[in-house]
């Protein structure tokens, strides 16, 4: 009985070791894509022998889009996780004019989870005659090959704006203010994160880190606000972080006042938010 038991145990251990080894081998180049992400676009960066899959939590929309890029060797279909990736969003307008948008390149060439995290702030939606392309240049550090993919991107206008532009009162700068968080607001405490970008030219939208903000959520149908919000303060790269409190579900309007060098830059800005 005892021997029989030992034999069974030995077989079980062997099977377990074998199967786990196999898994290890299989996983070596495998970085799973989180299930909450959707594949929104895909294309080849010609010259770099790389296919780029663009993932995001939602569709492309006008506002701050967090994007996750998965790179594949176009021949072997293996994941590529060591590459310099740079973005260039481009809108071609009906009148023949082109302009870019604020964007954030991946912070690292070797992302730990294999996904290159980057962002684009689409400053207007796609429409007939006004089309967005997302140009992604890849320098594959393993092969030394470089190329650019030009992906067609359909940018939708969300029912509640997540991005607004204002002309600053103090220096007439054109500012783009986008909500990064909360993506789905809840009753209670929400991390509140926004970005501010300045239009320097049609092709350049640098991050603006020198504003102070005052947030004031209001429930207009009731005429009340919410307590203990934290004004977003500059984090880096044009991001500002604070806290946003909603005391009940329903329709809220989040007023956001911008100050610049001690002067009011804008006091008209607001975002409407619906909490289900």
């Amino acid at each position: 009985m005892n021997k029989y038991f030992q034999a069974v145990a030995a077989i079980l251990i062997a099977v377990f070791l074998f199967s786990s080894c196999k898994k290890e081998n299989h996983n070596h180049n495998h970085y799973p894509i989180p299930s909450n992400l959707k594949l929104l676009a895909s294309g080849y960066a010609e010259g770099s022998a790389t296919r780029i899959d663009v993932y995001a939590a939602d569709s492309f929309f006008s506002g701050y889009n967090s994007l996750y890029l998965a790179l594949y060797d176009s021949a072997s279909n293996e994941r590529q996780t060591d590459a310099d990736v740079t973005l260039m969003p481009m809108m071609s307008m009906m009148g023949g004019m082109n302009h870019s948008a604020p964007f954030e390149n991946p912070a690292t060439a070797k992302p730990a989870d294999g996904l290159f995290t980057c962002a684009v702030v689409y400053i207007m939606p796609s429409s007939t005659g006004n089309t967005w392309k997302l140009n992604i240049t890849v320098l594959n550090n393993r092969t030394g090959l470089q190329g650019t993919a030009a992906l067609d991107v359909n940018v939708l206008q969300p029912s509640l704006s997540r991005m607004k532009s204002v002309t600053a009162l103090d220096d007439s700068a054109k500012l783009f203010i986008s909500i990064v968080k909360p993506f789905v607001p809840v009753v209670g405490v929400n991390d509140f994160e926004i970005t501010i970008h300045k239009k320097a030219s049609m092709m350049s939208f640098p991050a603006a880190n020198d504003y102070t903000t005052e947030v004031n959520p209001q429930m207009l149908s009731m005429g009340h606000g919410s307590p203990l919000n934290v004004n977003p303060v500059p984090d880096n790269n044009g991001h500002y972080k604070g806290k946003l409190n909603f005391t009940m579900s329903g329709d809220w309007r989040v007023f956001l006042k911008l100050n610049h060098n001690g002067a009011v830059a804008d006091s008209t800005l607001y975002f409407d938010v619906t909490i289900p």
Binding site: M222, T247, M248, S249, G250, P276
Partner: protein, 678 residues
């Protein structure tokens, strides 16, 4: 202030008042050696064979269909906060809500309405009641830790009797001022091994009219109440009793609040085991398991001035257990031990429906669970014939926590999403002495604490119409603590009894709302937001007195006085402190007839808490007249009563009444009762 050494049992509305009136003061047999000081127990009895005598029956319960509120209002040291014609909240001296214990047969029960529209007293009818016992101060800690005392409503249970085994009654009454019809009935039977009792009450009232003859809108109500109790006699002095009370009220108007109660439902059930082993050291053990459930929903559909329709339902579930034992450890040494546990879950929500917009939802009281576990010990020790020492103490542990993610997230705004754990100790000692057969005196000191209640910990924009502020909870609140002293003294002979109590309470960490100027109110029209906070020290002092003339040639009389004075350390008066109030009752009985004249008056209250937006209340004086006739025909008893309350049709209000709404004007009451016992 402490569990009384001495008890006068005041039988209310015994259906054979002749017997009740003629007999002398009855005291509990075990406690009969000493003179009485007890002003705090009212027995609401309808069993004719019970006819324990009664001196002030008709004072407390003025007719067969008096409400629990009406009985409480006349008890010593009890006042009521009035928000509507129905559902008044008891106040012991100046303490209410979380400061006092409200129990039914020792069972904890918590209302489900965040606006305190439903203190547990509204779910009990006098028809369900044997007895209401109030204990003032921190000594009222037998059923739960408190600083203000306790109100325990003892239900009428099925009882085994040897003679008159069948009892039935039916009562009906009409009130003119609100066109109210009240009806009640009860049947009880006792067999060898089984006894049962069933009872039911129905009330329907329209809006009431006040002195000056206008009608207070939204002051009507309608309800039914039904109760049953079954007792099983087991061998060797063991007994099992199952009790149930159901109460359903609807369209209950609260003129002082922005909403009425659309529906209020209570189910109160218990199963107890009693073992009586007299003549041993261990005298008795009672164990009870209980469950009660309350659903309460507010309704604004009857209001014209509603800006936006909203639904505000609330739920409260309480389950618990207790065991208590009494011991005789030598002659004159009575010990009581009790262990209990209870769990209360409550939740209240609000949904508002703006036009053309998303519905708005919040939890005004996020789902929360509170657990209470306690042990209680008291020892009453007689020193010779005329002296007694009493010691009581309770240690309670409370754990409270939020149980839903939604509630957690919401409470996180104020950092109130934490569990709260508290030890809540209390203890008291008293010394009493009797002299020369008719003088008695008692001195008591006590220390008590109470943990904050669910609303104080986790409330979320609870609107308080009294001061017009939204209240938010504070999970960091410290226990409210008190040190108390009280002196009772009395004189009593066969004709006259005089008793009085003088008390002083010092409160630490007094819990009150403080204005949060930076917060904006949630409720439309609210003045702002207050957060519960410990306000530091406060003091309460006062006096209660009663003079009774038992019976001299058919003539009886009773006079009571109650007065409290309370302030914060900075001199600011505490809110909702009743002014001096007195009752005078004169009764003359001859044969089956009686006639009774009552005077009721209260001084003005000008010591008001400004921050609460409290209004000063003027003096008022009222006269009530009552008369009745009863006819006994063998096993049958027929009784007719007629009364005029507020004879002079005064337009008045009591200081604790909310919303500056006057009380009922002249009210004619006629009632008819029939009882049968055999």
């Amino acid at each position: 202030m402490f569990t009384r050494l001495l008890v006068i049992q005041v039988l209310l509305a015994a259906l054979l008042p002749s017997a009740a009136m003629q007999s002398h003061l009855h005291t509990d047999s075990s406690l009969s050696e000493t003179k009485t000081l007890q002003l705090n127990e009212v027995i609401v009895c309808d069993q004719t064979h019970h006819s324990a005598p009664n001196n002030s029956a008709n004072f407390y319960k003025t007719n067969k269909l008096s409400t629990t509120d009406e009985i409480l209002a006349r008890m010593m040291g009890v006042s009521l906060i009035k928000r509507g014609a129905y559902g008044m909240e008891p106040v012991l001296r100046v303490y209410s809500a979380g400061q006092i214990n409200l129990t039914i047969n020792g069972m904890r029960i918590y209302g489900a309405c965040t606006d305190k529209m439903d203190p547990a007293t509204i779910y009990i009818e006098p028809n369900n009641l044997q007895n209401i016992r109030t204990t003032h101060g921190a000594g009222g800690n037998e059923t739960g830790s408190s600083i203000g005392g306790s109100v325990d409503m003892l239900m009428k249970q099925a009882e085994f009797t040897h003679c008159r085994r069948t009892y039935a009654n039916a009562n009906i009454s009409y009130n003119s001022a609100n066109h109210a019809v009240n009806a009640s009935s009860a049947v009880s039977m006792s067999f060898d091994k089984v006894a049962f009792r069933i009872n039911g009450t129905y009330r329907k009232a329209s809006n009431y009219s006040v002195g000056g003859n206008y009608v207070v809108p939204h002051s009507g109500y309608e309800k039914v109440n039904f109760g049953t109790s079954v007792a099983f006699k087991l061998p060797k002095q063991h007994k099992l009793v199952a009790d149930y009370i159901g109460d359903i009220g609807w369209n209950i108007g609260y003129p002082a609040l922005p909403m009425d109660a659309g529906k209020a439902i209570a189910n109160i059930a218990s199963l107890s085991h009693v073992w009586l082993a007299e003549k041993r050291v261990l005298q008795s053990i009672e164990t009870k398991m209980y469950f009660n459930h309350i659903y309460h929903s507010m309704d604004d559909t009857q209001r014209d001035d509603t800006i936006m329709h909203m639904d505000m339902p609330g739920w409260s579930y309480t389950a618990g257990w207790f065991s208590e034992a009494t011991l005789h450890a030598g002659s004159g040494n009575r010990i009581k031990l009790r262990a209990d546990y209870a769990n209360n879950f409550s939740r209240a929500e609000m949904t508002m429906y703006p036009e053309n917009a998303q519905a708005m939802f919040m939890l005004t009281l996020p789902d929360n669970n509170r657990h209470f576990a306690g042990v209680y010990f008291s020892d009453e020790y007689a020193i010779g014939k005329h002296h007694k020492l009493n010691f009581n103490s309770r240690l309670e542990y409370m754990h409270a926590e939020l149980t839903s993610d939604f509630g957690h997230n919401q409470a996180a705004i104020f950092g109130a999403n934490k569990p709260v754990n508290r030890f809540v100790p209390s203890a008291g000692v008293s010394y009493s002495a009797s002299f020369a057969k008719f003088l008695s005196s008692k001195i008591s000191v006590a220390y008590g604490e109470r943990a904050p209640n669910a609303g104080e910990l986790y409330g979320f924009y609870l609107f308080n119409r009294f001061d017009g502020f939204d209240y938010v909870g504070n999970a960091e609140l410290k226990n409210e603590r008190t040190v108390q002293a009280e002196w009772n003294a009395g004189f009593e002979n066969k004709q006259v009894a005089i008793h009085y109590s003088v008390f002083y309470n010092h409160i630490y960490n007094y819990i009150m709302g403080t204005v949060q100027n930076e917060f904006s109110a949630m409720t439309q029209g609210a003045r702002g937001v207050k957060k519960f906070a410990n306000m530091g020290e406060a003091m309460v002092t006062g006096v209660e007195a009663r003079l009774m003339v038992y019976e001299i040639k058919g003539f009886q009389s009773m006079h009571t006085l109650k007065y409290s004075y309370a302030r914060l350390k900075n001199g600011e008066p505490l809110p909702q402190v009743p002014p001096l109030k007195c009752y005078h009752v004169f009764r003359y009985s001859i044969k089956g007839w009686h006639i009774q004249a009552e005077g009721e008056w209260a001084l003005a209250q000008n010591r008001i808490n400004q921050l609460s937006g409290e209004l000063a209340t003027p003096f008022y004086g009222l006269i009530h007249l009552r008369t009745g006739y009863k006819l006994v025909l063998g096993s049958h008893l027929l009784q007719v009563n007629f009364a005029v309350e507020n004879l002079l049709n005064r337009n008045y209000r009591e200081h604790l009444d909310w919303g500056n709404i006057p009380r009922m004007g002249r009210n004619f009451v006629v009632s008819l009762s029939y009882a049968f016992s055999q």
